[in-house]
Each structure stands twice: as C-alpha cells, then as structure tokens.
Symmetry: C2
Subunit: 225 residues, 2 copies
C-alpha cells in the first residue's frame, strides 16, 4: 500500500454511463491512461437494457477537470458525474458466513462494536452471506479474498471442516484475519482466533481490524475464548 | 437485462495479477475486446506494494481457453486463474444502515429469513453499514445505487429526514426497494414500506426481493405495519 496521506485529495470518483457493449471499458481506460491516472477501484454499478454505469476511483489525477472533459468527448459516454469515494463511505468490511441463527448474533455484536469505532472516526461495515453446504461455504470463503475492502471473516456455524478449513488457510495467507465460533470440525484449528460466544466473536472481529483498538490479533493467534 | 438462460454457461470469471500501475486495465481490456467478450463485472480485488489483482466476469466468451492464452502472453500478466462467479456465490444484496442497536436486530430478522430462501435455491446476502450523522447517511444511501448486486435498502434508525429522504427518493427511482423502521423524520414517508418491529422489517426486506416469496412489494407501497 502506498502512503495514505495526500491520497484522498487527489482521489477522483466518477460514475460513467455508457452503452452495455464490448469495448466501452477499453475506451474509457485509454483516456484515463492518457492522463497517467491509476485506477484504484472499478465496478459496473448498473446494467440496464439500454445502458451500463461504470464506477471508477482514480488516484494521482493531476487535472481532474481536463480528464472529465476528455471522457465527455467520447461518443460512448452518455452521462458522467463525480461521486464521493466508496472507501470514504464504506471503509473496511468484515464478512460473516454460516447458519442464520449464529450469523445474526455475531452481527449484533459486530455492528454494536463497529458503531463505537465509527464514532471515533473509523469506517467499518459488516456484511453477511447466509449459505448452506460445504461446497458453497468453501467457495464463499475463498471469494472473501477477492472482495474489495474485505479484511476479516467470521465463520459462524455449528459444524465446519474439510474444504472449508483449506479455504481458511488460503485466505489467511492472503492477509484476511479469520475468526471462528467454537464448533465441531477442523475450522476452529484453521482460524486465527476462536470465540465461543457469537456476540463476543463479532465484537472481537471488529477489535481485530480496528486501527483505534488496543487489541493485537498477533498476540491472540491460536487462542480460544 | 439480457436473458439469463444460457448466460451462466458462457460466463467466465478470471483473477488476473498485474503490477499496480497506470495502463494495466487498458491493456487487459484490449485483449478482452479482441475476443468480443462483454465485461459484466470487474473489480480490483487486491492492492499490494508490488502487485494488484483484477477480477473480471465476462459473458459471450466464444473460446475461453484462447482468451486466457492471449491474456497470459501479456508482459503485465504475472498470474491468472479461473474463479467461480460472484453472482453465483453472493447473489442479491440487501443493505441495512442506521444505528447499531437497530441495525443488529434488522439483520437478525433478515439473515434468518434469507436462510429459508437460500435453502430453496436463492442467494440473498445481507450487508450492514453502521454510520452516524445525516451527511454520512445520505452519502451511504446514494452509494447503494452504485453497489453491485444491491437490490434493497433498510433504514434502521430512530430519526432520519431531510437529505436522507431526498437520497431515498433518488435510489427508489433507480430501482432500489427501500424499507424503513417507523421513526420521527421524513424518511418513513419517502420509503416503499414502513415496519415498526426491526426483526419483521428484516424479514420483509428479504420477502420483498426474493423470487420465491408470494410477497409483492407493489401491493404494499405506502403501507405501515
């Protein structure tokens, strides 16, 4: 990661409406490249019958107004507007997966704790994915490493092992912090930290990723509460 | 939206690791355009000191192996792997924003109800964004319309009005279903549906977006429970 200081000021977020057809992203990125701007975030926010909307976050934009002007000259640009950056709105994401009963309780703890940190200026959001079955769950765990802004995963179930445990090892290597409820199966052994009470598990997940908490996950690895 | 039938079979999801520098997306999209494939989803999944990972979902890919082969010949492609599609893993997203106490209870209802629908073959996930302050909240509400796969928003607070209500009207026009708890302020009047109990509000949000529920939000607009 590059230095954060000064980045926000030169960060430009844009919503660009184009026809939904091959080649539009290639044309937009040509103009962005001409301005030597770096694309730090991109997604397709809307897909309709007659158009798509692409959302970009760009850094190192020397002359934002000129870049916007150049994009607007493209035939494929139907509309363009500036937007506040996602990172500013959503911040870090904690993902909770497992069975509905336990996922709900983990989120209660995590959301309450995130409020306390957000009031002190952080931005931490909690996302849940209620899935069933080992195959689904392993795929969801692996997908967490590809989710923008995801920093931690909580496994909230009553039986998880085998391929899910392998997926946990894979995403830990990619820098995702993994917490698990105490449960049968090999997942607790694969996680950074095991917490029996779902509400406390949600609270600790937030503490582990917060920049304002004194909690250090490195000192807690392998522990069970 | 194009027809869903047959789309999945020709959908190709790729993780591509490149240096984190201007121009990489432009070069990747050139190869994708050469194959006349349409980019239906794209995001930057990882940003590290020495590389970035871009995630693509492509449709109408005639010859996936050739496309992958052509991408691999690029100097900027450090690694490339196929992945399961996000839509398949995550499905529709319901976003809950507001104060921690109430957000937690709405999610308990929504996650439990989503489990019931997911067991019947749907994919519905619940995401939360605990924020404070009118300005933050209005920005978060507006951002929901740009979030990939977001279909509904629940406003879970005890006082919301003014610019938040304007933002609610804007995203409803973009097709997002909005539910609100019963509360002071103009937001309940701006929402599609008002539900006093947070757990029931979460349950109804899932019913409103589920394809397997008998609940029809069009018949419920403007009602309060």
């Amino acid at each position: 990661m590059k230095e954060t200081i000064g980045r926000d000021e030169r960060l430009l977020a844009l919503m660009v409406r184009t026809p939904d057809e091959p080649g539009t992203l290639h044309e937009l990125t040509r103009v962005i490249l001409d301005h030597r701007a770096n694309i730090t975030y991109v997604d397709i926010a809307e897909r309709r019958e007659d158009y798509s909307t692409v959302y970009f976050e760009l850094e190192d934009v020397g002359a934002p107004d000129e870049l916007i002007g150049d994009l607007k000259t493209l035939d494929i640009v139907l509309a363009l507007e500036r937007a506040p950056s996602f990172t500013k709105v959503y911040g870090k994401r904690i993902i909770v997966v497992g069975g509905g009963a336990q996922v709900g309780q983990v989120v209660v703890g995590a959301v309450a704790e995130a409020d306390r940190h957000n009031i002190r200026g952080e931005k931490i959001s909690i996302d849940t994915i209620p899935l069933i079955g080992e195959e689904d769950l392993a795929a969801a765990v692996r997908a967490v490493a590809r989710l923008p802004r995801a920093v931690a995963l909580v496994l909230a179930g009553a039986l998880m092992g085998r391929d899910i445990a392998r997926a946990v090892h894979e995403i830990r290597e990619k820098g995702i912090v993994v917490l698990s409820l105490n449960m049968p199966g090999s997942v607790p052994d694969a996680a950074d930290l095991v917490v029996s009470d779902p509400i406390q598990c949600g609270v600790m997940a937030v503490m582990a990723v917060s920049s304002s908490a004194r909690f250090d996950i490195r000192l807690q690895r392998g522990r069970r509460y």
